[in-house]
């Protein structure tokens, strides 16, 4: 617990305190007066209100659309399941600029929907909500599905033979078992949408700002650190309130669950309910996820002389104005993402183990603390790093590790949230069984917990990886040597006029998609074979 705590304090608590202090302290005196001033501003309240309700609506919509997905991916076996499972995570890593474009092409003016039905969603809030679903579908599918696949299906069967219909059995038996992971997913989706930045900028009319956008504006554009500090505090307070709610929901500790080998729980679909579920989910995925991605692919292939790989070929060589070939960004991205994933897994894994082993008041508070980075503006963290980590021995401002560190801040909560429900569900008696067979606690952990959480750890790793692969907001504030990551390279290309640049940006986005999908797929293949004897 010490390591994650240290990590958290040094790389989150300290920088954020520093930047808030910079805004609210003058000559060593705290000016809390600003608090009431800013909070009294109707503009602030409007922003706060919009931020909250769109996040709540996005979360609800995401859960409603993605829980069937979690079910289908966890419990049904159908051709292409693995590939699709990796594919739904792809949106998560795409730069919002790029996906925003794709989304607009579909639901915006002159988009597919407009052409076909005269429906436009770009000026309502619907586009924002749908985009939020698009980005966070995988969060629910993966966190919830990861546990779901391991729940013993016979629990539900027991309910069925007691007269519970499919839905009732699910609601009364499976859902309670899933509650911690559903709550975790909901929490994360809420936090992501609560702090939504890019989506709001692209799809929201400029009148619709979230706190995050406002903090960005106040900090990065206007350098009004006092206002930004107040807003940051408001955001933190909201997140804390949220975490308390989350705690209340999941307080009733669900005891050990009977976890089984996920390989044995998936079955080919049977009966109209399952076929409908599968069809519905495939349709959702196709409409909501595949179509926008398809638009990207289409655009990346549209060259000056018809469709072709023109833009992809152009990516391969540096054209002089770029210091590196955009294709090299793939390597950079992978390296940063791997480092960030390693840090997140290490820190988050330690934290998750500590959290499930000890359940004191202190650790619970710590649990909440770890979630705070998700609810903190990237610009706050970025600027905080800048003014806090500027003295040796911690002058990391120009060091490359700052990028994975910042990305890991977002990855750690993921790892914790994904692992805690599963670790909490591992039956203590399995560890005992290992102990009486002579396994030390560490070996028992390796033998019992690790294989059971392995899948979830992979899920978590996939997320940490995807987060850092696609991270742009925080990365962009951190001064860094000339090693553009994929999203940065995409942004550079988009920042210039010309069909070539645009096409290459799309092609590079597709590359980003593929890198993400391939990595996640190979991560999934890392599942340990049902082991014989050793580990």
């Amino acid at each position: 617990m010490v390591a994650p705590l240290l990590f958290f304090v040094v790389f989150f608590g300290y920088p954020v305190t520093a930047i808030v202090g910079r805004g609210l302290r003058e000559d060593g005196v705290w000016r809390f007066g600003r608090l009431t001033e800013v909070l009294g501003d109707p503009g602030t309240l409007r922003v706060l209100w919009f931020t909250c309700w769109q996040a709540a609506a996005s979360t609800a919509l995401t859960l409603a659309l993605a829980l069937p997905g979690a079910y289908v991916f966890a419990r049904l076996r159908f051709p292409g399941r693995r590939v699709l499972h990796a594919a739904v995570t792809v949106p998560f890593v795409l730069p919002t600029v790029v996906t925003g474009a794709a989304f607009l092409a579909l639901v915006g003016r002159g988009g597919v929907l407009d052409d076909a039905f005269g429906v436009r969603l770009d000026d309502g809030v619907w586009a924002i909500l749908l985009a939020h679903v698009f980005f966070n579908y995988a969060v629910v599918v993966r966190t919830v599905g990861g546990l779901w696949a391991q729940l013993d299906p016979r629990q539900e069967e027991a309910a069925r033979v007691l007269g519970a219909g499919r839905l009732a059995a699910w609601r009364r038996v499976t859902l309670p078992a899933l509650t911690p992971s559903v709550a975790a997913a909901a929490l994360m989706v809420f936090l992501f949408t609560f702090t939504s930045f890019g989506v709001i900028q692209i799809l929201g009319s400029p009148g619709r700002a979230t706190l995050e956008v406002e903090i960005y504006r106040q900090t990065a554009q206007l350098l009004r650190l006092d206002t930004a500090a107040v807003l940051t505090l408001v955001q933190l307070a909201a997140v804390v309130a949220l975490l308390v709610t989350h705690r209340l929901v999941t307080r009733r500790r669900v005891g050990a669950l009977r976890l089984v080998d996920p390989a044995g729980t998936a079955r080919p679909p049977r009966g109209w309910v399952q076929w409908t579920a599968l069809g519905g989910v495939l349709a959702t995925v196709a409409l909501l996820l595949a179509l926008p991605l398809g638009v990207l692919v289409e655009r990346s292939l549209a060259g000056p002389d018809g469709y072709g790989l023109h833009h992809y070929r152009a990516l391969a060589h540096a054209d002089g104005t770029f210091l590196v070939a955009p294709a090299e960004a793939v390597g950079n991205s992978l390296r940063f993402a791997a480092a960030a994933t390693a840090i997140a897994l290490l820190v988050g894994g330690c934290a998750a183990v500590a959290l499930t082993r000890r359940a004191g008041r202190l650790t619970r508070g710590f649990d909440a603390l770890l979630m705070l980075p998700l609810g903190t503006s990237a610009v706050t963290v970025g600027f905080g790093f800048l003014i806090a980590l500027d003295e040796p021995p911690l002058d990391l401002r120009s060091s490359w590790v700052l990028v994975p560190l910042a990305q890991a801040l977002v990855g750690v909560p993921f790892v914790v949230r994904v692992l805690v429900p599963v670790l909490g569900a591992v039956d203590e008696r399995l560890r005992e069984a290992a102990a009486v067979l002579g396994a030390s606690p560490w070996r028992a952990w390796r033998a019992v917990d690790l294989p059971l959480v392995w899948r979830s750890a992979l899920v978590a790793a996939g997320f940490a990886f995807a987060v850092s692969l696609g991270e742009f907001g925080a990365t962009v504030f951190l001064a860094r040597p000339d090693e553009p990551t994929l999203p940065v390279a995409v942004a550079r290309l988009l920042g210039r006029a010309g069909a070539e640049n645009y096409g290459q940006a799309m092609a590079l986005s597709v590359v980003l998609m593929l890198v993400c999908a391939v990595t996640l797929l190979s991560l999934e293949r890392l599942a340990p074979s049902r082991s014989a004897g050793t580990f």
């Binding site: 013993d152 016979r154 629990q155 069967e157 027991a158 309910a159 069925r160 033979v161 007691l162 007269g163 519970a164 219909g165 499919r166 009732a168 059995a169 009364r172 038996v173 309670p176 078992a177 009733r252 669900v254 005891g255 050990a256 669950l257 009977r258 049977r270 009966g271």
Partner: protein
């Protein structure tokens, strides 16, 4: 009319068939026990009837209606799982009341029934306990209560009393028997305890490798096991091939008397342990050395080694009269306890 009918039911796991053409019918109000070695498909049978395991071939009919495509919760039956599958998130009362709540019984009604059932299974007042804090046997009783609670038209129990001590089990068998009689319940119960099967069942079904090898009233099955397998499964060790003719059955133990009217020919013959009577060794047609003595509570089971290539013989005798290991005893056979097996399903 029969409430449950299985017609050539086959369930395959990969290449192996866990149920292989099972034909069976259970009449309304009947209590049928399924017996069979571990892995013979008993649980699979119940699961197939419940609609939890898809049937690859054949039909399951309930009250005459084919159940293909009918989901588990609409079959209106109850199943107590072998490993209980209690809901860990619910307390004891919550588990027991589950089926009632699913049938929209009022909360009060459910509470009353829960209390009643807790009394029945010997756990009065345990309603608020967490299921994880129960002992193994206590969990089993809660699972039993949960299955009993909604009074399903067909109740299926998978080893309902396996983890209980004899005293409690016997008491429960009696009470269940009365309960079923009172309610007219139709019951299909798996058990590995023959005493339980005999005490509870109107009929028993013996399974082997996914097939039904014998069906009949308990006394009948015990009196005339269908074949050597059933006989051995029922615990009889003295089973041997024999040639029956007018003088009796020729076996490795010599010529045995058989009940009058036994058809001649090559047969399998079973000698119940109680049919092996011990005599002083002098002048006995067959003698054997006692090689093992197993204390059986009520009596002692002896293993006799007759020598001369003949297989060992199992004999039961009262505790007081039991010879010691190593003693040599004479053997006389009681024709009443000798059966030539039909070796064919009746």
């Amino acid at each position: 009319m029969s409430l449950l009918e299985l017609d050539g039911v086959r369930v395959r796991y990969g290449a192996r068939a866990a149920l292989d053409g099972v034909r069976l019918s259970v009449a309304e109000g009947e209590v049928v026990c399924v017996l069979g070695p571990s892995g013979s498909g008993k649980s699979t049978l119940l699961r197939a009837v419940a609609g939890l395991t898809p049937v690859d071939e054949g039909a399951v009919r309930l009250a005459g209606r084919d159940q293909r495509g009918v989901p588990a919760h609409r079959r209106g039956l109850g199943l107590m799982f072998q490993d209980h599958q209690l809901f860990p998130q619910r307390d004891v009362a919550g588990n027991i009341a589950f089926g009632l709540r699913m049938r929209r019984r009022s909360r009060e009604e459910a509470a009353g029934r829960v209390a009643e059932l807790l009394d029945l299974v010997g756990l009065p007042g345990a309603g608020r306990r967490a299921v994880a804090s129960l002992s193994g046997g206590e969990q089993q009783r809660v699972a039993l209560a949960r299955a009993l609670a909604p009074d399903p038209r067909l109740l299926m129990l998978d080893e309902p009393l396996g983890q209980l001590d004899r005293d409690l089990r016997e008491r429960l068998v009696v009470e269940l028997r009365q309960l079923f009689a009172r309610l007219g319940s139709t019951v299909l119960a798996v058990t590995h305890d023959q005493g339980e099967a005999f005490a509870l069942a109107d009929r028993v079904v013996v399974m082997r490798d996914g097939r039904v090898v014998q069906v009949g009233a308990p006394v009948e099955v015990w009196r005339r096991p269908a074949d050597a397998f059933v006989a051995r499964f029922l615990g009889f060790r003295n089973v041997t091939p024999a040639h029956v003719d007018a003088e009796g059955a020729r076996t490795p133990w010599g010529a045995l008397p058989v009940p009058a009217g036994t058809a001649p020919g090559a047969r399998t013959v079973l000698v119940r342990p109680s049919g092996v009577r011990l005599t002083p060794p002098e002048g006995a047609p067959l003698t054997g050395e006692v090689t093992a003595r197993t204390f059986r509570g009520d009596h002692v089971l002896l293993l006799l080694e007759p020598g001369g290539g003949a297989p060992p013989l199992e004999a039961s005798c009262p505790l007081r009269a039991a010879p010691e290991v190593g003693e040599r005893v004479g053997v006389r056979f009681d024709p009443e306890e000798i059966v030539a097996l039909p070796d064919q399903l009746p």
